[in-house]
């Protein structure tokens, strides 16, 4: 497939890994956080842990919207879906996340709730149009990639006067989370977790551009390289980060220049701004309340805002105390550090969100990495095609 296959050349991946090994200064260590779950997935899947030299390590970040959605909001969505007049439309990723009572949307569906998995907001609109007697609620989550499609759904619903369509908005913004991680005591206190640079999100950046990261690179003196989601993209980004560190530079570089510009998709940004505004604060699973990190519908669209329309109660709920998702999201711990990993918590029985989404650090480690944990494989990189 064009624009996919040519970025999966295993020989080139290994060649660049060798360049990283010869470029990295053996006297120092390099810790790079990949913010985005898409990168986590590639890093696990292609065995980067084995390919990279020991002094270049990847730290998983919070970049999966499923992982960071607090379970109180899952509980609220389940409660809403249980109401007989409601049809709740949701992306498949959310179906297995459990709330504090061990319920999930999947379980609620089995118990009779009208919950439909959709691929796109276009499907949710179609359902609302076809079934005017139902109250169709779209359970919206996601970073800046997924917010513009929600904005367009709202725009279309208004244009077509779909009075039975509304949105339960859980969209969050990426820069606020990066800022929080960089300022958290775990990261800023010396002797704790070390982050020397960031791999910036691919498709979030296609929408917001590389400009929002310039502030971090400057303020925290950390290099950022925005990278695509194929193995060659990621490994090239690591090399670019190593070079920046060696040169004492800390700027924003764009590896994914075929899809990302400095200013991003201005049209998509404008659609989002038309319909959404920042919340004063929003809870992130594992990171807590983060100021100006979530979006809600603008007040003039209250009729389409499920939280207002159905007087939804969202509450704060504690995670299972043994689940280490929070620490994993901040890059402080690894999946194998969690007592529940692989025992009670597996992709079939996820206890925490990091096990639910295939981009979650725990799920990625379960699928591709767990056999590596005990002994590093001698034939490093064989997972690369």
């Amino acid at each position: 497939m064009k624009y996919i296959d040519e970025y999966r050349n295993g020989t080139l991946v290994r060649d660049i890994a060798r360049q990283i090994a010869s470029t990295a200064d053996p006297a120092r260590s390099y810790h790079f956080m990949e913010f985005c779950g898409g990168h986590t997935h590639v890093i696990s899947r292609y065995g980067f842990e084995d390919l990279l030299p020991d002094n270049v390590r990847m730290v998983h970040g919070p970049g999966c919207p499923v992982c960071v959605l607090p379970i109180g909001r899952i509980g609220a969505a389940i409660a809403l879906a249980m109401r007989p007049e409601i049809t709740l439309c949701t992306y498949g990723d959310l179906m297995r996340v459990r709330d504090r009572n061990g319920w999930s949307l999947l379980k609620a569906k089995a118990a009779g709730a009208d919950i439909r998995m959709v691929y796109s907001t276009l499907d949710a609109l179609r359902i609302a149009e076809a079934e005017p007697q139902r109250e169709v609620v779209f359970f919206a989550i996601g970073f800046e990639t997924t917010t513009p499609p929600t904005a367009l759904a709202l725009k279309t619903a208004i244009a077509r006067n779909l009075g039975n369509f509304s949105i339960f908005c859980n969209h969050v913004v990426t820069p606020a989370a990066i800022h929080n991680i960089l300022e958290s005591p775990d990261v800023s206190k010396p002797g704790t977790i070390k982050i020397d640079g960031f791999i910036g999100p691919a498709h979030v950046s296609a929408v917001i551009g590389t400009k929002p990261y310039e502030f971090f690179a400057e303020k925290f003196r950390k290099p950022v390289v925005v990278a695509g989601f194929e193995p060659l993209d990621v490994i090239q980004a690591v090399l670019m980060l190593v070079r920046q560190i060696n040169d004492g530079r800390h700027v924003v570089e764009n590896q994914y220049i075929r899809a990302v510009t400095r200013l991003g998709n201005v049209k998509a940004q404008a659609e989002v701004a038309n319909f959404f505004e920042l919340r004063e604060s929003f809870e992130w699973r594992g990171l807590g309340e983060l100021p100006l990190s979530g979006l809600r519908l603008r007040p003039q669209y209250a009729a389409y805002d499920a939280e207002k329309r159905f007087s939804m109660m969202t509450f704060t709920a504690e995670d299972n105390p043994a689940c280490e998702c929070g620490a994993i999201l901040r890059g402080v711990k690894k999946p194998a550090d969690c007592k529940l990993f692989g025992t009670v918590c597996t992709p079939d029985t996820p206890m925490g969100s990091c096990m639910v989404s295939s981009e979650g650090a725990c799920a990625a480690h379960w699928t591709y990495g767990r056999f590596r944990t005990k002994a590093r494989q001698p034939d490093a990189g064989r997972a690369v095609a």
């Binding site: 624009y3 919207p65 990639t145 997924t146 499609p149 367009l152 998709n265």
Partner: protein, 75 residues
Amino acid sequence: MCLAIPVEVREVLPDEMARVTLDGVSKIISTALIDDVRPGDYVILHVGYALTKINPEEAERTLALIQEAAMGHAT
């Protein structure tokens, strides 16, 4: 969740929609988030919407830089 894939536009349809193909599988998507879509363009598809166009020159430049990096020249 943020995974998205490059697809080729085959036909521009009314109402800012387009028919695209990925490995022979055809799909109707929304192009309302981008401008000037033409058949033959590659776009990044995410949850039913084209998020951005792929710039073919930059794609080639990236591959050239990767080749150079693999041989040990500075990128």
